[in-house]
């Protein structure tokens, strides 16, 4: 029974990772870049929620405001920092992305100070008891949101015109351009969707533990990227599988006392093992590098 609870908690924290990983993997698939600042958009979303909560006082308004704010932020970052570098070396893009991440973190610290904020109104406390199992409401909410987002995103990508254009751009940007797809618009839309997902993930993290600091998104961001790579970067189902797997491994590792302090190490070792065995990730396609 304990194991079942661990598994459910794992799936729930894995769901948060999966939502963040979706942002990474979509941007990676379409813009072919690692958006290092993605994790920090979560943090900015958290602060946006905090500020609107102070002003308006209702969590739902706060979450919506944060989603809109993050969407705008994501688009601005893409236009200002990444767009000028389209066609430049991947190293340059990567370093700029790191710069953006660093910028957001330090700006947040300058504006809000280094002591963590506690937006307690976002917290969802209480738990449901089924037999001997005790499951937090926040866990159930996370699972539900994860499932909804996964289904919605899959449907969007598969059936909508924009979604199919996204797939086309990720397959071959030049060919997509020749087919009349506005690739710049698609890239912007991808950043917008990714950033909204980041805001949602930020809410899911804060409803479990309402402690908000400027490094809120760094570690989950790195882990979610790890999850995206484990699942196969660029693949949307891959991000989901990778995220859930990572979450489950994390919770199992936490539940074993001897392993608990080394949980981060365990998670990253999984990344290394996966990359050794199947460098393209679990669901990733192997791409031949062409000359």
């Amino acid at each position: 029974m304990d194991f079942l609870v661990t598994l459910i908690n794992g799936l729930s924290s894995g769901g948060t990772y999966a939502i963040i990983a979706l942002g990474y993997t979509m941007v990676y698939g379409i813009a072919k870049m690692l958006n290092f600042a993605h994790g920090d958009i979560i943090m900015v979303g958290g602060y946006a929620m905090y500020v609107t909560l102070m002003a308006m006082g209702h969590p739902v308004i706060a979450v919506c405001a944060a989603a809109v704010f993050c969407m705008i932020l994501g688009i601005v970052i893409e236009k200002v920092a990444y767009k000028p570098l389209r066609g430049a070396s991947p190293l340059a893009v990567l370093i700029t992305a790191i710069g953006v991440s660093f910028l957001l973190q330090s700006l947040a610290q300058i504006i809000f100070g280094s002591s963590p904020k506690m937006p307690l109104k976002l917290q969802i406390s209480g738990a449901v008891t089924i037999g001997a199992m005790r499951i937090d409401y926040s866990t159930i909410l996370t699972l539900a949101v994860t499932v909804i987002i996964m289904v919605a995103l899959s449907v969007f990508v598969k059936y909508s015109k924009t979604g199919r254009a996204m797939v086309a751009v990720s397959e071959d940007r030049d060919a997509a351009l020749l087919m009349g797809i506005n690739t710049n618009r698609i890239i912007t839309i991808t950043f917008a969707i990714g950033s909204v997902l980041a805001a949602v993930a930020g809410y899911l993290m804060l409803c479990k533990a309402p402690s908000l600091s400027n490094t809120l998104g760094s570690m989950p961001g790195i882990k979610a990227f790890t999850a995206a790579v484990i699942g196969g970067i660029g693949s949307i189902p891959g991000a989901m599988v990778g995220g859930l797997l990572l979450g489950v491994v994390e919770c199992i590792s936490y539940s074993i006392p001897a392993l608990a302090p080394f949980t981060d190490a365990v998670e990253f070792s999984i990344l290394i093992i996966v990359l050794l065995v199947k460098p393209s990730g679990i669901l990733g396609k192997m791409r031949r590098e062409k000359v």
């Binding site: 570098l85 991947p90 340059a92 370093i95 700029t96 660093f102 973190q105 790890t226 990253f268 990359l275």
Partner: protein
């Protein structure tokens, strides 16, 4: 780059100027220190500069010449600082706190970091770019959490590891000696045929592989040497602190080293040296002005510099502007104006190849 520069018997001042300047500066400061004409705070600054130069040049080798991004440089430094510091702490009662202890600690710390570099390199070097960056970043974080969570009798846990310190009068001289060694190794490697192989991997990995270059071997070598010097810098760092704390080797520190490399110009060892000196100097001077929450202004400044420099240097749209208004073109134009009938200007070298 002209063909004659690699010749062994030929001494070209241009290619040795940087060690000569550093050596002369180090000797001047050493004399000042031994005659007691230097302030204590300045020796501390010099130690920090030496460590920063070592870190920046060794990371510069990976970023600028191999063309890969390592975000775990502080992690390798952490390995060096903890293992070297522990060795020094263990040897201190036996050998005393002398140069011998320091040297053994440097060897142990440096080699340990090199071994870690190789271990992390083996799987990671099958990857490229973003993947490698994230694996090295993960490695840095693992190292930090490992040393903090092993039983505190080993590495002092969250309190940090207590390490012996060295006489402030001499430590920076030793540190500069290691800087010179590091520079000699890195520069000679990069200017040898192996260095050419390494830059060819950066420029086009597939073409390099097709030309019979053992890409994995060279990547591993660069990675190992780079982490070796990061480890040595870590050991020297442990000597400057009475306690080594793993919190100091976080991601921000890796980024700070990267800022030095980018600020100095990716692919320029001399640039890394100058930027490392400048950034460290500014850090120390700003520390007294920016206290508390203001300290983060420094990070903000780094972030902005990083973004602006990279976009300016790499944006395809700015290519024409860059070619017209770069430092070399401007100086060339100035020189031309001054002596209208001067000999024809030397062919422009690509900035990337300047070691």
């Amino acid at each position: 780059m002209s063909k004659k520069t690699v010749g062994l018997g030929r001494f070209q001042l241009k290619y040795h100027l940087n060690y000569i300047i550093i050596a002369v500066a180090a000797i001047v400061f050493a004399v000042m220190s031994l005659t007691g004409n230097i302030k204590h705070s300045d020796t501390v600054l010099l130690e920090k500069i030496a460590i920063a130069i070592m870190l920046a040049t060794s990371l510069g080798m990976v970023v600028g010449f191999l063309g890969e991004l390592s975000l775990g440089h502080a992690g390798f430094m952490c390995v060096g600082a903890y293992l070297g510091g522990k060795t020094a702490a263990l040897l201190e009662p036996v050998l005393g706190n002398g140069i011998l202890t320091l040297l053994i600690a440097v060897v142990v710390g440096g080699l340990a970091a090199a071994v870690f570099g190789m271990i992390i390199g083996l799987p990671a070097l099958r990857l490229r770019g973003d993947y490698l960056a994230i694996v090295t970043l993960a490695f840095g974080e693992i190292m930090r959490s490992m040393v903090m969570n092993v039983p505190s009798t080993l590495f002092g846990g969250t309190l940090g590891l207590q390490t012996p310190r060295y006489d402030k009068k001499y430590l920076f001289i030793i540190a500069f000696a290691f800087v010179l060694i590091a520079l000699a190794v890195i520069q000679n490697l990069l200017r040898s045929k192996h260095g050419r192989a390494i830059t060819s991997i950066r420029d086009n990995e597939i073409a390099a592989r097709a030309s019979g270059i053992n890409v994995t071997k060279y990547k591993l070598v660069v990675f190992t040497i780079s982490s070796l010097f990061a480890g040595i810098a870590g050991v020297l760092y442990s000597y400057t602190q009475s306690r080594v704390q793993s919190a100091n080797f976080d991601y921000n520190y890796s980024i700070e080293i990267l800022v030095m490399v980018v600020l100095g110009g990716i692919g320029s060892i001399n640039g890394s040296i100058i930027a490392a000196t400048l950034v460290t100097y500014l850090n120390v001077k700003l520390q007294t002005i920016l206290t508390g929450d203001l300290a983060v202004l420094q990070n903000l400044f780094y972030a902005i510099i990083l973004i602006i420099i990279v976009i300016y240097n790499n944006a395809p749209a700015l290519k024409h502007f860059r070619e017209k208004y770069n430092f070399k073109a401007l100086t060339a134009r100035l020189l031309k104006k001054r002596s209208a009938k001067a000999e024809p200007a030397a062919p422009e070298t690509d900035g990337k190849e300047e070691a």
